[in-house]
Amino acid sequence: MTPDLECLNLVKRFGDTTAVDTVSFDVPRGSFFSILGPSGCGKTTIMRMIAGFLEPTSGDIQIRGRSVLNTPPNKRPVNMVFQHLALFPMMTIAENIGYGLRRKGMPRDEIARKVDEALERIGLPGIGNRKVDELSGGQKQRVAIARCMVLEPDVLLLDEPLGALDLKLRERMKVELKALQAAFDTTFIYITHDQSEALVMSDQIAVMNNGRFEQIGSGQDLYYRPASAFVAGFVGDTNRWSGQVTRIEGDEMEIRTDSGLLLRGASHGRPLSAGDSAQIFVRPEAIRIAHDTEELSHFDNRMTGRVASLLFNGAASRIIVQDPDGREEIEVNLPQSGEFAGLKRGAEVHIGWSGAQGNCFAAGVR
C-alpha cells in the first residue's frame, strides 16, 4: 500500500538559513505521526509546505503516491487545524463546518446533513446555530477538527492545536484527539514541542532539531533507545554528564566526567574509543535507591551520597543526590512504595544503576 504522505529530500531555505534540511519520511495510511522538536527547529515549515503555503526549495511531497508540488493549497487533499484554530468568527458553527462543502458546490440539504453528522461525531450535537465565541476552548478544538474532517482529507495536519488550552483540558484533549483519529480513521500529522503530547498520541514520532530529523520511531524507541544525544536529552528527563571515555570493552565502557566521577555506561553499538570525549545520559527512574549497599550489589554503578534536596511532585517525586565529594548532583526518582517517604534533606542514601542504562554518545557528533 502506498503511504498517505511521503516527503523526499525536502529542503527549504530562507535566504542563507536552511529551515528544513533534506528531510525524508513517509507516513503509512491511518497512522498518527508526530513531529516533535523545540521551537524554531523547522517543524512548522514542513507543515506549511505540506499544506501548500510554502514552496519547498527542493525535494518532493507526495500524497497517496501523487506529487502535489504544483497543486495550490485549496486543491490539495490535505487540511490543516491551525495553531489558534482559525475558526471563522463571522460565521456560525454550522457555517464554519459547512464552509469547505459549500466550496465544493455540494447541495444545501446535503451540507446540512453532513454538518449534523459531523457535530454528532464530535459529541456536540445541536450547537450548529451558535457563534464561535460562545464555545469553550475544547469545543472549539473539536469544531476545528470537524471542519476539516467533513472534507474527508487524505491527511489531516495539526499545528500545535493544544498549545492554547489549559493543562487539565490539554490532558483530556490528548485522549480525545487519539480517539477522534481512530474514529475518523484518517492519517494525522501532528506538530508539537510538547513531548508528552507526542508520546501519548503518536504511532510514530520524528524528533526534529535544526531542520533535520534526528530520529524517527515509536515513543518507546525514542525513550529507551535514543539514536542521538539530542534525542536522549530532549525526550524525557535525564541526568547528563560530559567527560572522556577511559576504557571500552565491546558494548561496555567507562567514562570519567569532567568533575572526576567515574561512571560505567554502554555505547549501544555506537563507535566510541578510549580517549574520546563523550556524553552520558542516565534517566532518573533507572537509578535505584537503597538504605544499604547490599541491595545494590548487582549494579555496576554504586554511590553513596547525601540528599541535597527533595522535589515532591506526587507520583513523579524526585530527590537530588550529591555525591560524597560534592562534585555532581544526580536526580533520582523516588519509588512509589512509600519506603523512602521519611527521607530528609542531608540524609545519607545509597544509589546504583546498571551500566547498560547509561547511554553514551560521542560529543560534538550529531
Binding site: 501548500g52 493549497p73 487540511n79 491551525f82 482559525a86 471563522f88 463571522m90 469547505g100 466550496r103 472534507l151
Partner: protein, 285 residues
C-alpha cells in the same frame, strides 16, 4: 459623600456637556429657528415653512441637491474600490518597513492644506497644465486640452482628498484579521474570490462602513474642491449655501438649505447602516 460623588460626576461631564450644547445643540437649534423664519417686510418676520417651499419649488436647488448626493455616493464608492486593495496590501502583504513607508505615503499629502493640494491638481489638469502639455508633446492632441472644470475633475479631487480616511479604518480592521483565518479559508478549498467574499469582507465590514460614512460626509460637506475644480455646470450644494449666506445675505434660505443637507446626510448614513446590517456602535467603537 453622595453629594460629593454627584459633584465629581457633574464636573467630569461638564466639558462634554459644554461641547454638546455650545457647539452642536445651540447652533443647530438656532439654524432651525432661522430657517423657519419668513421675511415679510423690512425687519418683519413670521414663522412658516416658506424657505423649504422655495427649496422644493426651484429646480436648480433640488437638482444641485440630488446631484451632490449622487456624486458623493459615487465618490465614496470609488474611494472604497481604490482604498480596499491598497489597505489590503498595507495590512496583509507588506511587512515591516515597507508597510510603514506605504502608510506614510498615504499620509504625506495631508501635511499640506487642502487648498494647496487642490491647486496641485489644477496645475496638472488645466489647459496649460502638465498633462495637457504632455499630450501635445506626444502628438496625441492637436491643441491644448482643458481637463478642469467638469464633474470628472471634482471626482478626482474628492477621491484624492478622502483616500486617507478610508485607508485608516480599513487597515485597522484588516490588520485584526489573523493570517491563519485567511489561510484556513484557502486550505478548506476556497478560491481567492470566495475567501474575499466570505471571510475578508465580512470581517472588514465595520471598517468599510465607518470609512464610507466618514468619506461620504466629507464629500457631501466639501466646499473647496468642488468650487475650485468644478465649472459653472458642476454646482455643489455647499456652494448654494455659501451664496445664500454670504452673497445674497439670505440667512433664512441658507439655514433651510443647511438643514436639508443635515437631513440628507443623516438619511443616507442611516440607510447605509441598515443596508449593511451594521450599527453605529459597532462601526465607530
Amino acid at each position: 459623600m453622595r453629594a460629593q460623588a454627584k459633584l465629581g460626576l457633574f464636573l467630569l461631564l461638564s466639558p462634554l456637556l459644554l461641547w454638546l450644547t455650545l457647539l452642536i445643540l445651540i447652533p443647530h437649534v438656532d439654524m432651525l429657528l432661522v430657517s423657519l423664519r419668513e421675511r415679510i417686510g423690512v425687519g418683519q418676520y413670521q414663522i412658516g415653512l416658506g424657505n423649504y417651499f422655495t427649496f422644493f419649488s426651484e429646480p436648480l436647488y433640488l437638482r444641485t441637491f440630488l446631484r451632490t448626493a449622487v456624486m458623493s455616493i459615487l465618490a465614496t464608492a470609488i474611494t472604497l474600490l481604490i482604498a480596499f486593495p491598497v489597505s489590503y496590501y498595507i495590512a496583509k502583504m507588506a511587512r515591516g518597513r515597507v508597510r510603514s513607508a506605504l502608510f506614510l505615503l498615504c499620509l504625506v499629502p495631508f501635511w499640506v492644506s487642502e487648498l494647496v493640494r487642490t491647486f496641485g491638481w489644477m496645475i496638472l489638469l488645466r489647459e496649460t497644465g502638465i498633462i495637457s502639455n504632455l499630450l501635445q508633446i506626444l502628438n496625441l492632441t492637436d491643441g491644448p486640452v482643458e481637463l478642469l472644470y467638469n464633474d470628472a475633475a471634482i471626482m478626482v479631487g474628492l477621491v484624492y482628498t478622502s483616500m486617507l480616511f478610508m485607508v485608516v479604518p480599513l487597515v485597522t480592521t484588516l490588520e485584526s484579521l489573523p493570517d491563519e483565518v485567511i489561510e484556513a479559508g484557502y486550505d478548506l478549498g476556497g478560491s481567492g474570490l470566495s475567501v474575499l467574499r466570505e471571510i475578508v469582507i465580512p470581517h472588514a465590514m465595520p471598517g468599510i462602513v465607518s470609512g464610507c460614512i466618514v468619506v461620504f460626509m466629507l464629500s457631501l460637506g466639501n466646499y473647496l474642491t468642488p468650487t475650485m475644480l468644478g465649472g459653472k455646470d458642476s454646482l455643489w450644494f455647499t456652494e448654494l449655501i455659501y451664496s445664500q449666506f454670504i452673497v445674497r445675505f439670505n440667512w433664512e434660505l441658507g439655514a433651510a438649505f443647511g438643514f436639508m443637507l443635515l437631513i440628507l446626510s443623516s438619511t443616507i448614513v442611516w440607510g447605509m447602516l441598515k443596508l449593511t446590517g451594521q450599527s453605529l456602535e459597532k462601526t465607530m467603537g
